[in-house]
Symmetry: D2
Subunit: 137 residues, 4 copies
């Protein structure tokens, strides 16, 4: 848990946006975002990029959970429902893990458990180990 906090603190953008990592395990992660005014777009609905940012943190945590540095190659996101307030959750699951590549799906839900968006992403896994002291896990 201390390690998670470390990871979260080192991810400056996620922290700035206000995203919290709730859980992380091998190939799995869950994050949350409590919607505030600065997460909205020009028509006062939750910004697509804020939703992406939430999903991306779960994706990054899950894909870095094996100890090797993993960098995103490609992501596709589909937006399914507009939300204006409340708490959003993102849950990332590993679909495939190979030496160089790994693929994840992320589901973003609201407090009613409605699916807000789905996200599918692939990472390239480097040989470098994450610095456990500085980074994660």
């Amino acid at each position: 848990m201390e390690n998670l906090r470390q990871f979260f603190k080192n991810d400056k953008f996620a922290e700035y946006v206000g995203i919290q990592l709730l859980e992380v395990d091998k190939g799995y992660a869950k994050a949350k975002l409590e919607l505030a005014k600065h997460h909205l777009n020009g028509i006062d609905i939750a910004h697509g990029a804020a939703i992406f940012s939430l999903a991306d943190l779960a994706f990054a945590a899950a894909s870095n959970s094996h100890g090797n540095a993993a960098v995103a190659i490609n992501v596709s996101i589909s937006y399914l429902k507009a939300v204006t307030e409340g708490i959003l959750f993102a849950e990332a699951k590993e679909v495939s893990l190979k030496p160089k590549l790994a693929t994840y799906t992320v589901q973003i839900t609201d407090e009613q458990d409605d699916i807000i968006a789905i996200f599918q992403g692939t990472v390239y896994r480097k040989k470098d180990k994450l610095n456990v002291q500085k980074n994660f896990p």
Copy 2:
């Protein structure tokens, strides 16, 4: 230009992240992001979600440029080069415009004009006009 500033000010998330809309025209937009510490991830490179947020503003501006409210359905982004500092630019171009749907490509470049990421997105175009006073353009 006053209108653009309006649009930018109403997009709370883009403003919070520090993204600036530089140009917008029918089916076209350009935005920039000057990388600061809060745009980095846990390994001190520009965060994928910060790059997405930049591209997304150009996409939103271009797709809303015809006066109808346009909401993102789907986006795919491919990350091509890691960056750690400097200014990033995103340029959105319209590929297709139909009554209900429109599709855009966005190219994200750095100050050396290297392509950092490419982005392809589709919007659903509502019947509602954007509120010109409040929103854009």
Copy 3:
């Protein structure tokens, strides 16, 4: 079942490629492809476009299962494992259904139940009803 056969027979491309629709229900479909030599690429592994074609039939059947003509807007596919022979299955599930738009995920597996590819797609739903006699369901 007679209706399914109808649908399959009307989809000339799927029939030509050799894809069979196994099941279809509201928002759900399953299809299979028995790999033959003409499904391989230049290095004798199952062609990415043949795998896409299989997934696409399940996607089309699931998205047309409500009776309205649905046309694909966008698809993302990630390839996870190379295969050279055997039978592939694609299972499409509805993630979101709205009056104009609907989104599906499709999982492609082999006979060992390993995931070969994942597919995420969105359709635009027309007002036109499918011609039940001629088309489906």
Copy 4:
């Protein structure tokens, strides 16, 4: 030119579907598909998977043009215009080439030069050289 024919002949699926490779150069390729009845779907428009197959051949040729075997990791395709007959063209351009990864955009057009679909794909580049005698180029 003889080499191109070789490549095309070894790609059993592309040949079976009826796709022709017109040009290939380092990081570039162009292919065509003359629409026939077996390329149509159940409502008699060009099948999304046939269009994908066309784009995929241009993508494969461009990404294998440097001599290393390249396998598709991820593809996103957006469909922009329905077509029922005529000749379709796909033109693949390299956006990024790194030792392990490369990314391409493919534009699919009809005889009126209208854009039918856009395609964005990434490959993993293996160390293995393509067998020049057997494969390409």
